[in-house]
């Protein structure tokens, strides 16, 4: 008799426990909007899936699993905006993450303002987006703004000049693609150099003369840089920078070789690099501005872990910094939730402000205000150099993986 009662009692308790647990196991929903048709969006999506898989395998967050819902923005403003509506009202997500194109984001911002959910965005570098986000305290922006990128490199070059006294950086020529990306870069440089003339800003004492000229990127049917390269050759700069897209990388080098232009420093600043750049002998010695490279595996355990996990899971290597950035997107948010211990908005915002996440990008992610918004993440990028077909980090020195090759090697024999 007692045995039966005991049995019933235990079963009742067990049932309550199971019910209680089942009730709690409602997943935390992350809504991501990314351009899945583009390599950056595709790999960021993959990296997010990887992060979610790892976190769920480790027990989830606050005892709840993560659920990731990704909608393609098709690089189209109205589709990107509709995606936010879908994630908010149909999937009822708790957070918005992702992002790439600034143009798409401009259309999404009015929609995001409607829902005011905590949003952690890894795209949109245009200062126009920042202007539109004034007062949005629920918004966290991880990608550096266009005006911040130039400032970071100034600090880098100053330190490089100190470490390698033979390097000169007085005359700088910028070839920029004529679209929004290149033009924003050019305008940012002009603004900072104006500041420098007044004796302020990061470029004081660094660049004495600056010239810029636009070209049509191969990504949009252009790809003939010879006029710009010729102009640069005649101007004889200490450093030549081109701000374009991955499709411009090799043709730019081939045409520079063709006209015999080999400035002491040859810098490429596209958001990503083509698959076969390293294989070409024309890549040797090209400096690049970037946020990440596989060689960070040598100096950062987090980077190494991410790289190996990504290759294992998807059978391809990460091609752009958007892959580790997507991974960071999820982990940063999760760190904040863990720190806050709750999903309650105000508490979580405070917690996210305090998060210090060591990211696979080789630096620690911290939040600080930028020109307009309160919550900006990464502000600087790295200076790297192609050596032997690999991207080696030159600066910051804490994660340097190789010595700086200077000057840029001659074309003869390549």
């Amino acid at each position: 008799m007692l045995g039966v009662k005991k049995f019933l009692a235990i079963t009742l308790v067990l049932a309550l426990v199971v019910l209680g647990v089942a009730a709690k196991v409602k997943p935390i929903k992350l809504g991501a909007v990314l351009p899945l048709g583009d390599i950056t969006g595709r790999q960021a999506a993959n990296a997010m899936k990887l992060a979610v898989k790892e976190i769920n395998a480790a027990g989830g967050v606050l005892g709840r699993p993560l659920e990731l819902i990704i909608v393609d923005d098709e690089m189209n403003p109205s589709k990107g905006a509709a995606a936010i509506d879908k994630l908010a009202t149909i999937d009822k997500v708790d957070f918005f993450i992702g992002g790439m194109s600034s143009g798409v984001h401009l259309a999404q911002i009015p929609i995001l303002k409607k829902y005011q959910k905590i949003t952690v965005w890894i795209g949109a570098a245009s200062h126009l987006c920042e202007k539109a986000l004034a007062g949005a305290d629920w918004y966290f922006h991880l990608h550096p703004w266009d005006y911040q990128q130039g400032a970071g490199y100034a600090i880098g070059w100053k330190q490089i000049l100190e470490k390698y006294p033979q390097v000169k950086f007085d005359r700088v020529f910028l070839a920029y693609e004529e679209g929004a990306f290149g033009t924003a870069s050019y305008k940012a440089y002009l603004a900072m150099l104006e500041q420098a003339k007044q004796g302020e800003g990061p470029y004081v004492g660094l660049v004495k003369e600056f010239k810029g000229e636009s070209f049509k990127s191969a990504a949009f049917g252009g790809g003939d840089y010879r006029a710009v390269l010729r102009l640069a050759k005649e101007w004889n700069p200490d450093a030549f920078i081109w701000a374009g897209y991955d499709a411009d990388a090799l043709p730019m080098m081939a045409q520079a070789k063709e006209i015999g232009f080999a400035p002491p420093i040859f810098i490429g600043a596209p958001p990503g690099w083509p698959a076969d750049f390293g294989k070409s002998p024309l890549s040797e010695g090209v400096v690049l501005y970037g946020m990440w490279a596989p060689s960070l595996n040598k100096v950062s355990p987090v980077a190494e872990h991410f790289y190996n996990a990504y290759v294992k899971e998807f059978g391809e290597e990460p091609a752009t910094y958007f892959a580790p950035l997507g991974y960071t997107n999820v982990y940063f948010l999760v760190e904040g939730i863990k720190k806050a211990g709750t999903l309650e908005k105000e508490a979580l915002i405070k917690a996210l402000e305090q998060v210090e996440y060591e990211s696979p990008l080789g630096e620690t992610l911290k939040i600080a205000p930028s020109a307009v918004i309160k919550h900006q993440g990464f502000t600087t990028q790295k200076i790297l150099q192609w050596q032997n077909g690999k991207q080696e980090v030159i600066w910051p020195f804490e994660v340097q993986t190789a010595e700086f090759i200077y000057p840029f090697p001659k074309w003869e024999g390549r």
Binding site: S214, K216, L250, A275
Partner: protein, 311 residues
């Protein structure tokens, strides 16, 4: 295909003016002429097959540039699997594209020949979309390149140093033009094709197999694009959308030269190429170089319309 001819004294004024202008430009901006000739002949090379299809088969092929993309990716794949030089792989790519064109024609285009022009437009739009997206799915949007050291070779004459590889575009364009003209004017098949272009109903009555001509011309046209694909691969980054701007440029050239005027396409291509390069060489104004293409096109077509064509 109607040929626009100018008669009498007028036959020499335009070419004479052009030569004088060219010499002037060469004195002030020699590189603009060189780059313009190189790029312009590439535009002409890609535009000629489109004009062929448009003139004889009467189809507005929106997928034209995407065949260039397809050919380039095939050549890239051949290079990576066998190491075969892209220029040599033209001998594989061009016939392959010929077959692809023939197959595509049989399955889809031949069914819509009797339908209005617009249905063909929509069809080729659909085909373009499918080509672009399949390539994107297989190779992703990350650009691909092939490195051969002669693609960046250069020569020096006097103080001028310029690239030599892209003159292959000029050679190819002239070669294709000469071969096409020989074909259309001096072979039985070519003359039949020409007749079909002029008057399809009449050609049929005379006993010409119009269906076969359409198939042949469409396939030849795609095959020629394959030649361009092999030539451009060493110089350009290829990605799923890299060929599509050439569709628009080809249409512009075909319209500017006038339907059926293949030689005119070469001249128009060179002129527009030089114009583009000229504007690009003007400091501070290179962003306006697209206007050259569009502006000259609009001007030429509008002026010609006042002289009596296309009204």
């Amino acid at each position: 295909m109607a040929e626009t001819k100018t008669h009498g004294r007028h036959q020499f004024t335009l070419p004479l003016l052009a030569i004088v202008a060219l010499i002037l430009i060469f004195i002030f901006k020699p590189y603009a002429v060189i780059y313009g000739v190189q790029r312009g002949s590439l535009y002409a090379l890609i535009a000629m097959p489109l004009a062929l299809t448009l003139g004889i088969v009467g189809i507005l092929n929106l997928a034209h540039g995407d065949f260039l993309t397809l050919g380039a990716y095939i050549a890239y794949w051949i290079f990576n699997s066998t190491g075969l030089d892209p220029l040599l792989s033209i001998f594989a790519v061009a016939p392959l594209l010929f077959v692809v064109g023939a197959g595509l024609y049989k399955i889809t285009v031949s069914k819509v020949l009797r339908a209005p022009l617009l249905n063909q437009l929509l069809l080729t739009f659909g085909i373009a979309m499918i080509l672009e997206e399949v390539i994107n799915l297989i190779w992703t949007s990350r650009p691909r390149n092939v490195y051969v050291n002669y693609a960046s070779a250069s020569a020096s004459i006097g103080g001028f140093r310029f690239g030599t590889y892209e003159f292959s575009y000029l050679l190819a364009a002239v070669g294709v033009l000469v071969l096409l003209r020989l074909f259309l004017k001096h072979t039985r098949l070519g003359k039949a094709a020409f007749a079909v272009g002029q008057n399809p109903k009449g050609a049929k009555i005379v006993g010409i197999n119009v269906e076969m001509i359409y198939l042949l011309i469409f396939s030849i046209s795609v095959g020629i694009v394959g030649i361009a694909a092999g030539l451009t691969l060493p110089r350009m980054s290829i990605f799923p959308l890299f060929g599509s701007p050439f569709t628009l440029k080809s249409f512009c050239l075909a319209a500017m030269a006038g339907l059926g005027n293949l030689t005119g396409i070469l001249w128009s291509g060179l002129a527009l190429g030089i114009g583009e390069a000229l504007v690009q060489s003007i400091e501070g104004y290179s962003g306006w170089s697209d206007i050259v293409f569009f502006g000259v096109l609009i001007a030429v077509i509008t002026i010609r319309s006042y002289r009596g064509s296309y009204v």
